[in-house]
Amino acid sequence: MRKLLFLLKKEFRQIRRNPFMARAIIAVPLLQMLILVPAITFEVKRIDLAVTDYDRSPASRELISKLSGSSFFRISGAPAGQAGADQLLLSGDADIVLIIPDDFSEGLAGIGKPTLQVLADAVNATSAQLGWNYLVSIVRDYNRDVIISSGLAPAAIPGISVSSRYWYNPDLNYKYYMLPGILVILITAIGLLMAGLNLVREKEIGTIEQINVTPVKKWELIASKVIPFFIIGLFDLALGLIVGWIAFDIPFEGSILLFFACAAIFLVAVLGLALFFSTMASTQQQFLFIAFFFVMIFILMSGIFTPSESMPVWAQQFNYVNPVAYLMRINRMVMLKGSGFQDIARDMVALTVLALAFITLAIRAYRKRA
C-alpha cells in the first residue's frame, strides 16, 4: 500500500510537469462541449427545394409561396424540365424536387384529379424522410384551404385533432439530447487515451522495465495508472457539465451524486480497458490503433446518435459489454428525466460488473516479464 503511494506521487509529479497534460485537461472538455454540442443536431432545416412548375397558374404559385414561406424549405431553383431537375439532384443543389404538372389547376377546379410529383434525394434516408413529411404536411394544409375556400365542404370538417406534449425535452432541443452523450465521449476519450498512452510510453522509453524488476505488485502498478486518470476524468466531467450549464443552460433533473457515482464506475471500466489494451501494444502507435478501433465501435454502437433499441439483436447483445452504452443511457435518464437509483440500478450493476472484469483483465494481462 505504501508502495502505491510512492508510485502515485511519481505519476502526479509527472503529470504536473507535463505542460501538454495541463492544457489537454482544460482544453479538451471546453472544446468538445462548445463545438460538438451545438454542431451535432438531427434537426432538418432549410431543405433545398427545386420546383418545376408546368402549370404556371395562380394555384401553383400559391402552393410555391406556401412552401417557400416555411422555415423548412428554401427554394433553390426552378428547373425547366425533368432533365434540369435530375441535374439539380445530382449536383446536390436540390434535396427535393417538386414537379407541378400542367393540369394541376384544372384538377383543382374539378376537371380530373390534381396530382403532384415529388423526387427526393434519399442518400441520407433520415433527412429525405423528414423533408418528405414536411412537404406532405404543407400540401395537406394547402389542400384544406382549397377545400374550404371552394365551399365544397362545410368549414368545420370533423376530424381527430391530436395535441402532443413532448416529455423530458419539451422543446425537442437536440442540445439537451446530445450533451449527456458528449459528456460520455469526453470522459471515454480522456480516460482511455491518457491512461493507455501513459503506460505504453513507459514501455517505449524502457522505464517500465526498471519498475518490473522491482517487487512491486501488478495491482499496485495498475492502480497507480488508474487513480490519476480516474481523478482527471471526474474533474473533466465536472468541467464539461459546468460548460453545459453556462453555455447551453442544460437542465439537470436528477441527482448529481448518482450521476458522478455512475461516471466513476464507468471510468474504472474504461481505464481497465485502456490498460488492458496497453498490455497488448508495445508502441504508442499500436495502442492508438487498438484504442481508436474500439472507441469508434463503442461510441457508434452506444446509442448516442441512433437509438440502440432499433439496432439488430446481435448489436444490442454486443452492448451488454459496451460500457459506453450503459453510461449513455444512464446520463440521459439522470440528467433529462431525473431518474433515480432504482430506475438505473440494473445498468449500474451491469456497469460495475464490467468495471471489475476489465480491471481484473488489465491486472492479469499485465506481464512483469516477457
Binding site: 510512492f6 511519481k10 509529479r13 509527472q14 522509453i205 522495465e209 526498471q210 512483469k368 516479464r369
Partner: protein, 246 residues
C-alpha cells in the same frame, strides 16, 4: 575456502522460436564477487541477465538467485538491484525524486529514505544536482546515478547490463570505482560488457559467444590458459573462427 554461491545456473536454455539465445549455460557466482559477463553484441548476455532478474522465463534449466529458484521471480526481485541497458530513470523527475521512488518501491519509508539519500548524494558529490531533472544531466552523471539507485536498497546482488556503453573513459573509470566500492560493501556485482579491458577489473569472467559460454575463470587464469597477453586477444581467439563461418 569454499565461497558462498549467490547465483547458481545449470543447463540454462532460452529459445525464441528456433533461435537459441542461451545454449546450456552453467555457471556459479560467488558472494561479494565482481562477475563479468563478456561477449559480443548479440551473444546472449542480455537474455541471460533478464532471466536472472526474473524479467524473462527460462525455457529449461535450473536457475537459483540469492538462494531462490527462478520460478519465484517476485521473491528474487526483492533481493536484487538492476540497471538495464536502456537508461531507465525517469527523465521528468528530479534526482532526489527518482531515489525516493525506488527507495519507496523497495519498501523503505520516507524516514529511512531521507538520511540515506542525503548521504548518497554527498558521497557522489551530487548534492547540488538533487533538485535537477534527470533530463538536464549529462549521460555520465545519469549512468552513475542509475547505478546508485540500483543499489540504494542494499540488494544482495546487483545486475548491470552494459552500464558503461556510450560513456567517456573518465566516467567509465569512475563507474568502475563505484562498482568496487559496491562489492566492498558485500554486494555481489554481475556486470555485462563488451569492453574487454573492463574484464581485467572482474574477479571472474565468462566469455559468451553465440549463446554459449566459451570460457569461465579469473582473467589471469584464462590469459594463461589461452596464452594471450590481454583478454581482448583471448576474446578474438575464441570468437573469431565461429563468427566468420557464421
Amino acid at each position: 575456502m569454499e565461497k558462498e554461491k549467490v547465483i547458481e545456473v545449470k543447463d540454462l536454455v532460452k529459445r525464441f522460436g528456433a533461435f537459441v539465445a542461451n545454449d546450456h549455460l552453467t555457471f556459479d557466482v560467488y558472494k561479494g564477487d565482481i562477475f563479468g559477463f563478456l561477449g559480443a553484441n548479440g551473444a546472449g548476455k542480455t537474455t541471460a541477465i533478464r532471466i536472472l532478474c526474473g524479467l524473462s522465463r527460462p525455457t529449461s534449466g535450473k536457475v537459483t538467485v540469492a538462494g531462490i529458484d527462478a520460478g519465484r521471480p517476485e521473491e528474487i526481485k526483492k533481493r536484487i538491484g538492476y540497471m538495464s541497458q536502456r537508461f531507465s530513470l525517469y527523465e521528468d523527475l528530479t534526482v532526489s525524486e527518482n531515489i525516493e521512488l525506488y527507495g519507496g518501491i523497495y519498501g523503505m519509508t520516507m524516514k529511512e529514505i531521507r538520511p540515506r539519500r542525503e548521504a548518497l548524494l554527498e558521497r557522489l558529490s551530487f548534492s547540488h544536482y538533487s533538485d535537477m531533472l534527470i533530463r538536464s544531466l549529462p549521460l555520465g552523471l545519469r549512468q552513475k546515478l542509475a547505478f546508485a539507485v540500483a543499489v540504494f536498497h542494499d540488494p544482495e546482488i546487483v545486475f548491470l547490463d552494459e552500464p558503461t556503453s556510450g560513456v567517456d573513459p573518465i566516467t567509465r573509470r569512475q563507474f568502475w570505482e563505484m562498482i568496487y566500492e559496491t562489492a566492498s560493501r558485500g554486494i555481489t556485482v554481475f556486470v555485462t560488457t563488451h569492453y574487454m579491458d573492463e574484464a581485467e577489473y572482474c574477479d571472474r569472467i565468462t566469455i559468451m559467444n553465440e549463446g554459449r559460454i566459451e570460457a569461465l575463470d579469473t582473467p589471469a587464469v584464462l590469459r594463461k590458459k589461452y596464452g594471450t597477453e590481454t583478454i581482448e586477444e583471448l576474446f578474438v581467439k575464441i570468437a573469431r573462427p565461429k563468427t566468420e563461418t557464421a
